[in-house]
Subunit: 212 residues, 4 copies
DNA sequence: CATGAATGAGAGTTCATTCAT
DNA sequence: CATGAATGAACTCTCATTCAT
């Protein structure tokens, strides 16, 4: 009677749907840890369940099977960032936008769990074509399209001196990929200053243009 | 003409040592296929054996276990290229050397089995720190050191206008990595012209400098 | 009649804990059969599972591995008898006590599954030092200690004429061991009347003493 | 030219047959070590071969298979002692003969490789009925028959006071078995003075009789 | 909804045995 | 005779998946 959102005597401050969503989130979070640490094939659902604080069977109430869990994990992690990818300003000087774009990736991707997710996609991509395609369609192609327009504008305005860059937005992103891979493999014993790397990268990209 | 075992005529019997080396090579080749296709954990030694045309137990005559097979495979594939990495000319104009360096990678790595091996190292690196370290020590760090000297020379001679590049040889290689990853994931449905990518990349790198 | 789970009527469902304990017992019983028949190394868990009526994997829900199954089997079989070993009367005439002791062993050990267990311990002891030590500590040394006190009393009271026996309680048990080994190896084609053997043994032990 | 027994340039001082016999002996010796250490099932012919200094296949030139090797090993080790078993004097006082008999076993069996062989027979007996039967027929029954006659003589002459012993020669041997088993299992952490045990045993056996 | 005991196909690994050299 | 590379059946152990409770 006190809690209108909890009919039937549920004391917990959450409704059934919320509890369910929370469980789902717990499982996804646990799965991320395990998949990131072991890879898809070597990760054990037993460990995912233990880490999520649920029984092994419960996972199957929320996900069809191991592969579905993996794919939904990747999707769930990527989706919130898909919008951000296209939120770049369409007007004004180009360099600050590219800078913001790269800074965004460095801060919100490379230094977060998202880096693990993308490394997973890269590592397992060949075994999960659907995932690779999803990643390309929803993230990569969109980001590259945005970049492409940006670069065209930069070339048109003279900010970017070298027209070679148009049609190869991958060149803008390549150092990010380098930072991502390096971080997963060599960071431990050969640290790489990604921020400085990005500054140098920007300097080169905009070197021969004139300031906007 | 006196020696019936003389090289030059491929004959069946061969020596014991040759047979043995051939078997080993067969197994490694089969392992490459399977590991590249399935990843380390999901690859089955049964399939490796079948593909190599040997019995399952035979693998264990040549390799301690699955992990050893994997590590030796990577090492065996990388080692022959280690020397090549440092064979860049130490004198003269810089751009042609960098061009040759990238062309070499594109031709001898990206379009060969070596690409699979490096993708494997990237994918499994976190689970095989020894391998990641080997790859860094024997390949990555050497190549970067060579590039570093090259870039310094280019900056000193004015060929490279932008000194930002020095100390970040990773920027030179980043597009190669991009091509490698792209090739493994998106090439099927979104082909990338790596050669053109490289030309654009070079144009940008040497854009603001004066010709040597 | 009110409690459907009440003991006294063997019914199927039972509680989870009971089911679990029963499964464990089934597996141990099956393991005893197989280990006794084949020895540790040659026994196959597949057969244990089949005999226990469970799947192969189920064994691993209850026991860490084959060796743990073996060791727990031996412990589980021996433990219930450890108390019995020290339950011999500490007063009165000695001969009846020794007689009872040997009769107990002949009836409760030699003619039961326990004989198989001890034969297993003897056969596998060298490969399972922990088991040999357990058996010595919990069974052998205790039984010998009890016997030792008993013999000392018998010598003190004159019931046992020969003081040589003190400090060698093994001599009292040796014929039991003989019966155990004989039973496992020769009984089939050269039967040995263990009861008569024991009577003769007792006659000799107490031959030169005077009745208590 | 110096060695007339080595025609054809063979430097080794042995003929073909001798070499062969030596090889056989080497294999048997190696097999004894391995079987004693690991038991029949767990012993590896690979280790036997390595220890014997021959190739794995060579074993099969001398023995049909693993089981034959094992059985011939046991037979070969026991046969030389079969004669000794019946070489006990048929006349004169009994006690010295029994003493000699037990002393012989303690010295020539318990403290030698023979102990390992008999422990093996005991451990593997149930799996090798033919071996158990051979051991019974050629060793056990003969020794017991000899002992039986000896005991009868002792009882007849009054040396042995207790006629219960006749028909149970096993009682004479039981402490030896105890020593054998104890040696294999507990000797390490609970040493048993077998010689003293035997003296006590003899004292008891002959306690109530009058000296011859 | 949630559980976790149970399943059983399938993985890596071993080793007795064979046979071309 | 001797070798040891090769075999492949058989083993132990794992783990995604199911289902009675």
């Amino acid at each position: 009677m006190a809690n209108p959102a909890a009919p039937g005597g549920a004391r917990r401050p959450a409704g059934r749907a919320e509890r369910s969503a929370a469980r789902r989130a717990d499982i996804l979070a646990a799965a991320l840890e395990e998949f990131a640490a072991c890879g898809f094939a070597a990760a054990r659902l037993d460990d995912v369940a233990r880490r999520a604080g649920v029984a092994k069977g419960t996972i199957y109430l929320y996900f069809q099977d191991k592969q579905a869990l993996f794919e939904e994990l990747v999707r769930a992690m990527l989706v919130p960032h898909i919008a951000a990818v296209e939120a770049l300003p369409a007007e004004g000087p180009v360099r600050p936008v590219v800078e913001a774009f790269l800074a965004h990736i460095v801060h919100d991707v490379l230094s977060t769990r998202l880096a693990d997710v993308i490394r997973l996609v890269i590592a397992e991509g060949p075994r999960f074509p659907a995932l690779a395609e999803f990643y390309y369609r929803e993230v990569v192609s969109r980001a590259l399209a945005v970049l492409d327009r940006l670069l065209a504008r930069g070339v048109a305005s003279g900010e970017i001196g070298n027209p070679a860059l148009v049609h190869f937005p991958q060149l803008v992103v390549a150092p990010v990929l380098m930072g991502l891979i390096w971080g997963g493999m060599f960071q431990r014993f050969a640290p790489l200053d990604v921020a400085a790397l990005m500054r140098a990268h920007l300097d080169i990209l905009f070197a021969s243009g004139r300031a906007a």
